[in-house]
């Protein structure tokens, strides 16, 4: 009898198993859970050590603060000094079609907004992660004390940069130094949201609205309160994520990709998944940029200097005529992550045609290229009509155009700095610059849908992309109809 008792328990368990196992086996499961959990790739935010009671001392200059930082973070400055945030110039690399290795960066190249930082350090260096870079003296890139720790780490309410990248007048450096912590959106945004000289001017997808973003401005920063470094992950002060404009060829390892966290084929719809090999995530999920603040879409330098009514969005005497637009629908180009061409100072232009300053690389035959959205900025900017190259005027610097409104002196002043001869003759030529649209990401509910591209009034010019016609009816580049 005593042996029987455990036996019926075995029986009961047996019965339970007989009942439960088949139920579990037949239990309805959700159809193929393909998605990985993107949250598992998002870094956890460590609580930053409060420096309020750690930092002490009298700080007269930014470099004083840096010295204090280096007392504990000895290797930090050295790390920063190897990043483009400090060098403003890429490592030299060889590019097909050019004689020697080239470098690209704000330090030596031009764009089609304010054109050139060279010679204009007084203003431009407010976004340099260092101190005291002046146009008339060589800058010591190897001096750790030149590194500005505060611009990325201090509370942006307590710190700002002024001329030549030095702390702005009246900044309480001790208070700023005591406020340091991991960079937040406002730190990055203090420069990146103001590219081109104002809120959202340059990028279109990076605006001050992202400091405190509503959920519909960007699904990551808004709806999910991401900070920049959640995606632009950082090691040794080297921040991941760069696209064209200030680079020529980008190592894919350096790029931030949606697929760092999201599975590529996560869409429930087979048709949409089939798009992934040809269409970048951004194409559908960044349907438009400049969602809250308008962005500059054209800048005509040729009208500068005139006595016209001034307005930030239409005309400034120092800069010329602008067009700003909101809800800008991007241009769609093939893009494999690199540039096929980047204008370098001294490159010849055809003044009667359009000079594309940065041509995204890729075409329909390039399987690594995808259709990608770009904000296009069109400018009329000065060039040397004799030498047929674009000119980099001194604008903000002493005696620059913004003071004298004399182009000739602005170009002449620049000669020794850029090393480009000025013939004395200038004109204005049309230039285009493409800015990849990759922020202001929208969730599925606000993403593009079929007819946004595949319809008579769709937003993509198929023939320009190399298709015989709409691939919905003509077949795609990988699946022929």
């Amino acid at each position: 009898m005593r042996k029987i008792k455990p036996f019926w328990i075995v029986g009961a368990v047996g019965i339970l198993l007989v009942l439960v196992v088949p139920i579990v086996y037949f239990w309805p499961r959700p159809v193929e859970a393909k998605t990985q959990d993107p949250w598992s790739f998002v870094p956890a935010h460590a609580t930053h050590t409060d420096h309020a009671n750690i930092v002490s001392g009298e700080f007269a200059t930014g470099s004083d603060v840096t010295r204090a930082c280096l007392d504990c973070h000895a290797e930090a400055a050295d790390q920063v000094m190897h990043t483009t945030h400090f060098t403003w110039q890429s490592e030299p690399f060889t590019v097909p079609g050019r004689d020697g290795p080239v470098t690209i960066g704000k330090a030596n190249q031009i764009n089609n907004f304010c054109i050139s930082a060279q010679g204009n350090q007084k203003r431009c260096m407010t976004c340099h992660a260092g101190y005291n870079w002046q146009e008339d003296q060589p800058y010591d890139f190897s001096n750790p004390e030149n590194v500005d720790c505060l611009v990325c780490h201090a509370d942006t309410n307590l710190y700002a940069k002024g001329s030549y990248g030095d702390p702005a007048e009246g900044v309480d450096l001790l208070a700023a130094a005591r406020s340091v912590r991991a960079p937040n959106r406002e730190n990055c945004g203090s420069c990146h949201f103001n590219g081109g000289g104002g809120d959202n001017v340059k990028h279109g997808d990076l605006a001050q609205g992202l400091n405190f973003p509503p959920s519909d401005l960007d699904v990551h920063m808004g709806a999910n309160d991401f900070v920049c470094t959640d995606c632009h992950t950082t090691s040794d002060h080297n921040i991941k994520g760069r696209l064209v404009a200030d680079n020529y060829v980008v190592d894919p390892k350096e790029q931030v990709a949606c697929t760092d966290c999201h599975a590529a084929n996560l869409h429930a719809d087979e048709r949409i998944n089939a798009h992934v090999q040809t269409v970048a995530c951004q194409t559908c999920h960044v349907p438009a940029v400049a969602l809250d603040e308008p962005t500059k879409v054209s800048w005509d330098w040729s009208t500068a200097g005139q006595d016209l009514p001034e307005d930030h969005f239409t005309y400034l005497r120092i800069k010329g005529t602008f067009v700003y637009e909101k809800n800008v629908v991007p241009q769609y180009l093939w893009y494999n992550g690199s540039l096929s061409y980047r204008y370098l100072l001294g490159d010849k232009i055809d003044p009667n045609g359009v000079t594309v300053m940065d041509m995204p690389a890729g075409n329909i035959e390039d399987p690594t290229a995808k259709i990608f959205p770009f904000k296009l900025h069109v400018a009329m900017q000065p060039y040397d009509t004799v030498n047929n190259y674009l000119l980099a005027p001194i604008t903000a610097g002493d005696g620059g155009y913004w003071t004298t409104f004399d182009w000739n002196s602005a170009f002449t002043l620049a000669e020794p700095i850029t090393g480009l001869d000025y013939s004395g003759q200038y004109g204005f030529a049309e230039t285009w610059m493409y800015w990849p649209s990759t922020h202001m990401v929208q969730p599925a509910a606000s993403a593009l849908q079929c007819n946004d591209c595949h319809s008579a009034d769709g937003r993509i010019d198929w023939k320009a992309l190399g298709y015989p016609g709409d691939p919905m009816v003509w077949g795609g580049r990988f699946q022929r109809k």
């Binding site: 009898m1 029987i4 008792k5 036996f7 019926w8 029986g11 009961a12 019965i15 339970l16 007989v18 009942l19 088949p22 139920i23 037949f26 239990w27 309805p28 159809v31 097909p96 079609g97 050019r98 004689d99 429930a268 719809d269 879409v297 054209s298 067009v323 637009e325 800008v328 629908v329 241009q331 180009l333 093939w334 096929s340 061409y341 010849k348 359009v354 594309v356 041509m359 690389a361 296009l376 900025h377 069109v378 009329m380 049309e430 509910a445 849908q449 079929c450 007819n451 595949h454 319809s455 008579a456 009034d457 769709g458 937003r459 010019d461 023939k463 320009a464 190399g466 919905m472 009816v473």
Partner: protein
């Protein structure tokens, strides 16, 4: 060297981006101002259509004659326009059917308040008719209209036809000008300052042929169809809806809007809009055009043979019209669906591409939808994939009264507000589900909007019943452009000198009598109100999977989608209950009922012979079953209480017992497995039967548990039967006929009397003879009757997925499910009795249950009434 290389570099990237840049560089001049936007594709120029001369009716070039263009002559140069006109229900408008007597003398259309009569044969009769029906006529017919206006090819085959100018010309009686007016605004022709036609010679080449840039001939685009049919929206401006305007008839009667735009991005003031990130119509979003499904019936690309006539096994018949032949003789009868109305060309109903022509519904739903065959053969795709309409639709037209703008008092469903304003709050509406009989004989539940109309009829001198003419109605209501004073006296309750919406309705006998009297005074015999309900089928505005109905509970619960009622009207004019029109393919098996002032239609799935798990049930089954169950419960509680009281009075029984190994391990395992399965089956069955009483449980999951356990139960039963046969234990269940009734009476007496007195059991319980006579008969009944019945009905209900014919043979789900429920009640009843009777088995109440657990039972030692059987 450097320069050379750089040039080379330019060259290289120039080629790489060459195609692109060439295109980009085209519109350089305007680019700065337009912020570098790429120009969108140019207005489509026909890639292949040759240039041609515009000819007048005499065949002369219009540039020479200055006359209006003749489409029959111009297009007829290459296409057989006579063939086209004679093969087009758009031209015929169904009138030949009427003339052939296939339809009544022209349908009465209570929405437009006129008869859809064919035009008179005479030229002047046709002209009157044409002036009245301008916006519904494409020309070329019907009948004598062909002599007045040619079929207007431009209306459907050019991108921006000027329909307004065309309608204006027709209304003005300038019939010959109508088709030419369609081209106003294209730059080809205009009305000159002298009022004469002015053909723009710059649009023509030296030979008098249209320049290629002006030849924008195309297959009809959605916008072309929209001109007459309903709201179509393309382009970037936000979509707005004018509530219930008959200018967009399809949209007005059904709420259907053809647009690929997301509803959330429309300009409609729609409640809950932000959550509707789905297109109005998924097919429009995915680039389908009207003509993709409603194609020309001899179009060699689109034509598909109907499944009914196609030989089995033939997937595709490649024998098609030659393209040239098709272009010469394009059939302008278009494939069409199965609208509820008689409409034009009923013989073409069901010819179009329907959902299943493109989608494999079985495959799409295979991974989650149970009873696919049942669902697909009962439920039209639209039912789940058009869950809700997001534009208003007409609810009722009350022509028993007239508003000051000479129309019916009407109401619109799915909208709140003053009506007709873009600020009205649109709420949308759920279509009502009704049975549609397809031309192929299938009967499916499909979504509809119901429009109810009331109007006065009278008997004319010939004894025919006719709707009261509008002029008579006007004479009754109006005097000098205002309501007649008698009308104001009777209707204007608040005396404010105007009739509000609630005043202008015939809601009292007095008002009704007044209008009837005034109609009679006009000489109309026996004027009275009739009401009719017209269903309008809803087939567009399809939602993709994410927005379709997919929750089982939507239908399989109380308040099932299939039983959802629809409001017909806010009030009932003259108290006249409207009736469904009878010439539709829709079965209105539900009831029309009034609740408060408002009138509703309540579908009745049971009347359509539908049994919907979780929704359908028969009251009497549950009452009867419940009665068994409760009766037994009351019985055992009473019996047990009595035993308990008597036992306390008499003290513990002193019976000599001895332990006997009564149940083999397998018997116990078998028994308890059966027990657990049955209990869980009863519980899950109850929840499936009444999901409304058990919120929050997964209907789907419960069905899975129920099915799996039923299978286990069946396997267990089969194995145990096998064991019973092998071991010979089966004999224990077979009552021996001889003396059985006497023995049963003895046992019954024991339960009625002996058990209270602690008398010994009348029959000895031994391992070989466990059951008393009553147990034998009960278990036999259980095993031989209830189990098989429940098993068979259950298997057939489950099997209706695979072999519906067997279920159908036994009356289908309505019979099987009712039976299954009743037997379930009997099982529950059995359990009550069975569990209770175990307490009578031994000296102590739980002895028998313990025995079934351990196998050992304490049995009484006493003289047996019957000699024990010999041990084997």
């Amino acid at each position: 060297m450097m320069k050379r290389l750089q040039n080379l570099k330019f060259h290289t990237w120039g080629i790489a981006g060459g195609v692109l840049l060439a295109a980009l560089a085209l519109g350089l001049g305007i680019r700065l101002a337009s912020a570098g936007r790429l120009t969108v594709q140019e207005a489509q120029i026909s890639p292949l259509h040759p240039t041609f001369a515009l000819l007048d009716t005499d065949g002369a070039n219009v540039l020479e004659s200055g006359s209006p263009v003749s489409t029959m002559k111009t297009c007829g140069k290459c296409h057989d326009t006579a063939f086209i006109a004679s093969h087009s229900f758009h031209v015929d408008l169904g009138m030949s059917d009427i003339q052939a007597g296939n339809s009544d003398a022209g349908r009465w259309d209570p929405l437009t308040y006129r008869y859809l009569l064919p035009p008179a044969g005479s030229r002047s009769g046709a002209a009157d008719w044409l002036r009245q029906n301008t916006d519904r006529v494409v020309g070329g017919g019907p009948g004598a209209v062909a002599q007045l206006v040619e079929m207007d090819c431009f209306l459907c085959h050019t991108p921006n036809p000027n329909n307004a100018a065309r309608v204006e010309a027709l209304a003005a009686g300038e019939f010959g000008m109508a088709n030419t007016a369609t081209l106003f605004g294209t730059g080809i022709v205009a009305v000159g300052e002298d009022g004469m036609l002015a053909w723009n010679t710059a649009a023509f080449d030296a030979d008098g042929e249209l320049l290629a840039d002006y030849v924008a001939i195309q297959a009809p685009a959605n916008d072309n169809c929209a001109q007459c049919h309903g709201l179509v929206h393309t382009g970037s401006d936000p979509l707005v809806v004018t509530s219930c305007s008959l200018d967009n008839p399809q949209t007005a009667v059904t709420g259907q809007v053809i647009s690929g735009d997301k509803i959330s991005e429309s300009g409609v003031n729609l409640s809950g809009k932000s959550a509707l990130a789905r297109p109005w119509d998924i097919h429009a979003e995915r680039g389908l055009a009207c003509v993709d499904c409603h194609y020309s019936l001899n179009n060699p690309i689109a034509y598909q043979e109907s499944a009914a006539t196609k030989p089995e096994g033939l997937v595709f018949d490649p024998r098609r019209l030659d393209f040239g032949e098709y272009l010469k003789y394009p059939d302008h009868n278009f494939a069409r669906g199965e609208s509820a109305q008689y409409n034009v060309a009923p013989e073409l109903k069901g010819t179009m591409r329907r959902c299943e022509s493109c989608h494999d519904a079985q495959a799409i739903h295979a991974d989650w939808l149970p009873y696919i065959d049942t669902h697909m053969s009962t439920v039209a795709c639209e039912t789940c994939h058009i869950p809700q309409m997001y534009a208003p639709a007409i609810q009722a037209y009350d022509w028993t009264v007239l508003t000051l703008d000479d129309t019916a008092a009407s109401s619109c469903r799915g909208v709140e507000g003053i009506g007709g304003s873009v600020t009205d709050l649109v709420t949308g509406f759920q279509p009502v589900l009704m049975m549609r009989k397809n031309v192929d004989g299938d009967t499916l539940i499909a979504p509809y909007n119901l429009i109810t109309t009331w109007y006065w009829i009278y008997d004319d001198a010939q004894g025919n019943t006719r709707p009261v003419r509008l002029v008579d109605l006007e004479a009754v209501y109006f005097a000098g452009g205002q309501y007649a004073s008698k009308i104001m006296d009777a209707f204007d309750y608040d005396g404010d000198g105007a009739l509000s919406e609630t005043e202008l309705r015939i809601d009292t006998a007095d008002k009704q009598a007044l209008i009837a009297a005034r109609l009679a005074a006009l000489g109309l015999g026996n004027p009275r109100i009739v009401g009719e309900i017209q269903p309008y089928s809803i087939n567009h505005n399809v939602a993709g999977a994410g927005y379709a109905i997919s929750a089982c509970r939507a239908c399989h619960a109380d308040g099932s989608r299939l039983s959802q009622s629809m409001q017909l009207a806010d009030y009932v004019p003259g108290g006249v209950t409207p009736e469904f029109v009878d010439d539709t393919n829709v079965t209105a098996s539900g009831t029309v009922y009034q609740s408060g002032a408002a009138l509703y239609y309540q579908p009745d799935p049971a009347a359509d012979k539908l049994y919907i798990f979780g929704y359908s049930r028969y009251g009497w089954v549950d009452w009867l079953g419940g009665l068994f169950f409760l009766g037994t419960l009351v019985g055992v509680v009473g019996h047990g209480t009595l035993r308990y009281i008597l036992a306390r009075r008499r003290g513990k029984p002193t019976v000599e017992t001895k332990p006997v190994y009564m149940y083999e391990a397998y018997e116990r395992f078998w028994h308890w497995l059966q027990t657990s399965a049955i209990v869980v089956l009863l519980l899950t069955g109850l929840i499936i039967h009444r999901p409304d009483l058990f919120g929050g449980l997964s209907f789907r999951g419960l069905v899975v548990i129920h099915n799996v356990l039923a299978a286990l139960l069946a396997i267990n039963a089969l194995l145990s039967i096998f064991w019973h046969f092998i071991s010979g234990e089966i004999q224990q269940y077979i009552p021996h006929p001889y003396g059985f009734i006497d023995q049963a009476i003895v046992q019954a007496k024991y339960y009625i009397q002996g058990v209270f007195r602690h008398e010994p059991h009348p029959f000895n319980k031994t391992k070989d003879r466990k059951f008393n006579p009553l147990q034998k008969i009960t278990y036999l009944g259980l095993l031989a009757v209830l189990f098989p019945l429940q098993g068979i009905t259950g298997i057939l209900m489950w099997g209706a997925q695979q072999w519906p014919q067997y279920a159908k043979f036994l009356g289908g789900l309505p019979v099987l499910a009712a039976f299954h429920t009743l037997v379930a009640w009997l099982f529950a009843t059995f359990i009550i009795g069975h569990v209770y009777l175990t307490t009578t088995g031994g000296p102590k109440a739980l002895d028998s249950i313990k025995a079934m657990v351990t196998g050992w039972e304490d049995v009484e030692v006493h003289e047996a009434v019957e000699t024990p059987q010999k041990k084997k």
